[in-house]
Symmetry: C2
Subunit: 353 residues, 2 copies
């Protein structure tokens, strides 16, 4: 089941309030999707995610294909049941991960031959196998294998890659079977060449997807360039379709992209920062180990309504990090995710005004 | 505030059902006290502990004195407020930890001079400083510095040590000030010499404590010997006083000790096992990484009512451990603590029959 409904349009920008209906519930948009890479949002229980207000999680096809394997997840009754999360799940294409994590052995129009970053074992991802894996997961939103060129890349490289991404998108549509749950999005690429961004959008849109992922941005290019690419490309994606900006999740980037009409975002940063002892506030990120927090008995963020902020002080959480206690990671992750969810709640409220 | 009430006596054994009333709530006995060494039960939020049914936690004076320091905890408004746990807290004497973790530089009748296991810094624990630290914590049950001889120890060594423990107990009583919250227990020792166990009990009981900790058992001596010592010593402790068996928490040991009239237990084992991938069941402990659990979609323990067992499979939790995911530790710790709390609930029910 899949439906996207735009329920309100901003009077000032192209931002919109929407609802994505899936078999596992509704996603209010614009929204932030925490990363549950290996079928767990690191250090969080599904119950905590619900408390935080998370509506949808992302899991990585590349990671789950390698471990524990998509067939095992299918035997478990699908990814929702396996990981104990009954809300919507988006799985990504594996494209970005296979290029950034594994040792590529060969890449051609057929797919990607690579060595696992876990144990060096050899594997091949093809458009078909990536779709099959995600149908085994039974995720609500699934993505086709795409090629994500690094930054910077030569124009000729990017030209070739958008054609390959288009070819793979076609094969993905062919491999896709409606299981009543999973909806296939298209992914647009195009590096940092405005005309190639537009061309990729046109080619992918022509194939007739119900939603789109915008890939290959926030991969080391300067912010201005990213904003320019996004602004140019989004004009060529259908207004009525839901649009996900892959791997982008800094507050400023989110605000910019929402105003262009982006509906969802995912990013590992809030949870990664939490694990490494940083917490988000309206004055930027702060480092909990900082000595100035030793006797600071105030909450992480006085404006925050999360479990960590309502019950614990900076001094306590600093102590937990200094003593290498897991609870420190749990509390900062909890806060950072709640920070992102509140940000999105505020953004939705502002669009309503 | 402190009161102990025996509300039911077993018809078959010396076991009893009781209630310890503290300023932070009631402890139903017999009960298990999870270890919150560094002001956190590892990997658990206080909210999770409440869900598990935990009524009281233990924190280590030695660890908290070193880091973050008892004065900082006092500035935070005491240990309950610092760690966000509003139920009763028992803090131990630091005696066992200073002997087992630190590098002892000098020990005499005055106290223990040692190097911190964290940074090698030099410190001195005296009966007075240990009481002062715990009054700064404002724990509900506090313990006097004691000497815990290793196993095996010569008779002459243990003879000397029970005298020193008695001397320190007297000094602790002198240093103790009623802050309206903290109640001082006495600790009895005596190694594995039955007559010295009895003598230590008599000497400490004579000083007039409201409750007792039994120390120096389960420190490598054979089980039979431990049971013999405990059986002999408990006869010489007042029936009406609450009795805590320090550092003992294996299910069989608990059952044996409850039948002798022990009221509370603490042990790091259930949470430590959880962190290392083992889970408790009525058929003994099992190792989650075991390959036989790869496709085992049943809960950790089919008889368990805990969050982990109600929502996740062995296959999923195994995957989390294989992938080094913190959620694996959280779920096994949750289950193991619930296992202990259910064990105590069942023990209390059996005493009622």
């Amino acid at each position: 089941m899949f439906k996207f409904e735009i329920i309100h349009r901003s009077k000032k920008t192209k931002a919109r309030i929407g609802r994505i209906y899936t078999s596992h519930g509704i996603i209010e948009t614009p929204n932030f999707i925490p990363c549950g890479t290996a079928a767990t949002v690191k250090a969080m229980t599904p119950k905590s995610l619900k408390e935080i207000g998370v509506q949808v999680v992302l899991a990585n096809t590349y990671h789950l294909y390698l471990r524990p394997g998509d067939k095992l997840i299918r035997s478990a009754g699908g990814l929702h049941k396996f990981m104990g999360w009954d809300g919507p799940i988006l799985t990504d294409s594996g494209g970005f991960q296979v290029f950034s994590l594994s040792k590529i052995r060969k890449i051609d129009d057929e797919g990607v031959l690579f060595s696992s970053h876990i144990d060096g074992s050899k594997h091949k991802l093809t458009p078909k196998s990536v779709i099959e894996a995600q149908l085994n997961f039974s995720s609500d939103i699934i993505m086709p294998l795409d090629e994500c060129p690094p930054y910077p890349s030569k124009r000729s490289e990017v030209e070739r890659s958008i054609l390959r991404t288009e070819k793979w998108a076609k094969e993905s549509l062919k491999a896709y079977k409606d299981n009543g749950v999973s909806t296939l999005f298209g992914i647009v690429q195009g590096g940092t060449y405005k005309d190639l961004r537009i061309e990729s959008a046109k080619r992918i849109v022509d194939l007739g997807f119900k939603g789109f992922g915008i890939g290959g941005l926030s991969v080391k290019e300067p912010k201005d360039l990213m904003y320019e690419m996004l602004s140019a490309q989004i004009e060529h994606l259908p207004y009525e379709a839901p649009k996900h900006l892959l791997g982008v999740g800094y507050p400023d980037d989110i605000k910019f992209a929402v105003d262009l009409g982006i509906d969802t975002f995912d990013c590992v940063e809030p949870s990664r920062l939490g694990r490494h002892g940083a917490f988000l506030t309206d004055e930027g990120k702060k480092i909990i180990r900082n000595a100035k927090f030793t006797k600071d008995f105030s909450p992480l963020d006085k404006n925050c309504d999360c479990y960590a902020c309502k019950n614990f002080s900076r001094a306590y959480i600093r102590h937990l990090f200094i003593a290498n206690e897991i609870l420190g990671i749990i509390l900062l992750t909890f806060h950072n995710l709640r920070y992102m969810i509140r940000l999105m709640e505020n953004i939705r409220n502002e669009i309503h005004c």
